[in-house]
């Protein structure tokens, strides 16, 4: 028990010493973003949803959806199944 403890202590101390030694002083922050961070849009609004408020309301619900296939940047990325997702996708039943 005490041998294992000593060994572990030595290993851990060595690891921490090596880890700590790898550090330089961090660069100082200059820009506002470094001080405050990225300013992301808030999620709660008190305005009505959007343009097309009345007009598209039924369309919004009609489950139009799944004739759709993903159509963003995925087509530029190679997947194990071939490049992107150009095959039509069946609507779930």
């Amino acid at each position: 028990m005490s041998t294992a403890r000593n060994l572990t202590t030595a290993v851990l101390a060595g690891a921490v010493t090596a880890a700590v030694a790898s550090f330089a002083v961090p660069a100082s922050a200059a820009e506002m973003e470094k001080c405050y961070g990225v300013s992301l849009k808030g999620q709660n609004d008190c305005a009505a949803g959007a343009h097309s408020c009345a007009g598209t309301a039924t369309i919004d619900y009609d489950g139009q959806s799944f004739k759709l296939v993903p159509a963003g940047t995925c087509t530029d990325m190679e997947t194990p199944f071939g490049p992107g997702s150009l095959e039509p996708i069946q609507r779930p039943t």
Partner: protein, 262 residues
Amino acid sequence: MLRSLSDVQADFAAALRDPAIPPPAGVVGPDGGPAPRRFAVYRNNVLVALGNALAGAFPAVGRIVGEEFFRAMARNYVLETPPTSPVLLDYGVTFPDFIAGFEPAASLPYLPDVARLERAWREAYHAADAKPLGAADLAGIPPEDLPDAVFSLHPSLRIVPSRFPIITIWRMNVSDVPPSPVDFAVGEDALIVRPDAEVEVRVVPPGGVAFVDALAAGETLGSAAVIGEASDSRFDLSGNIAGLISAGAFVDFRRQPEPAPW
């Protein structure tokens, strides 16, 4: 017989949630007659505003699938899992799992993990602030205390393991860099943390997920090191500790008291 306020709102809410239900009786236009187009404004507001909240929280997912697909997928999620809190920065916790079960997105098997990374990023962004320990703080721990040292990790720290290169994919889709081919054979486990103002996303080295999970669960440094080694033969203790220090992952430590000797 006029309805109670409770019944009025129950009917209104039911019709908001299910498009097959007609606008409630008693909801009228200025002429006192039915006004489905007017009621549709509220239906639309609910879906559009909640869809906007999801689009804001999952920008890489949105870019990967395209806006039209994302909107349609988000609508299904909103109808199935509407928010239960008025604080919308908490909305979308289960969206990654929804995506994983959403058949039309099945051709993008990495998408749920990218969504998990984005959710973790959001949580780190809004998490409590804490000042990380520096290298000097760790150097000051007496060596004999190290095996039993228990660390508090930064409240913003999240781990998202993946068998896909989610960090590469995510970066490609939240920056203006044009997408390029990605090697899908290389998985990337992500560590997300906000040590100060900016959220950082880093690749976790081999064995690191088990090591950090153990530390987060309150295991001692000695136990966590054993767990890390057991999980991956390439586990590099010193490299993992250095990575966590530089990420600002440690905020406090204490020496776990010895168990009583009887």
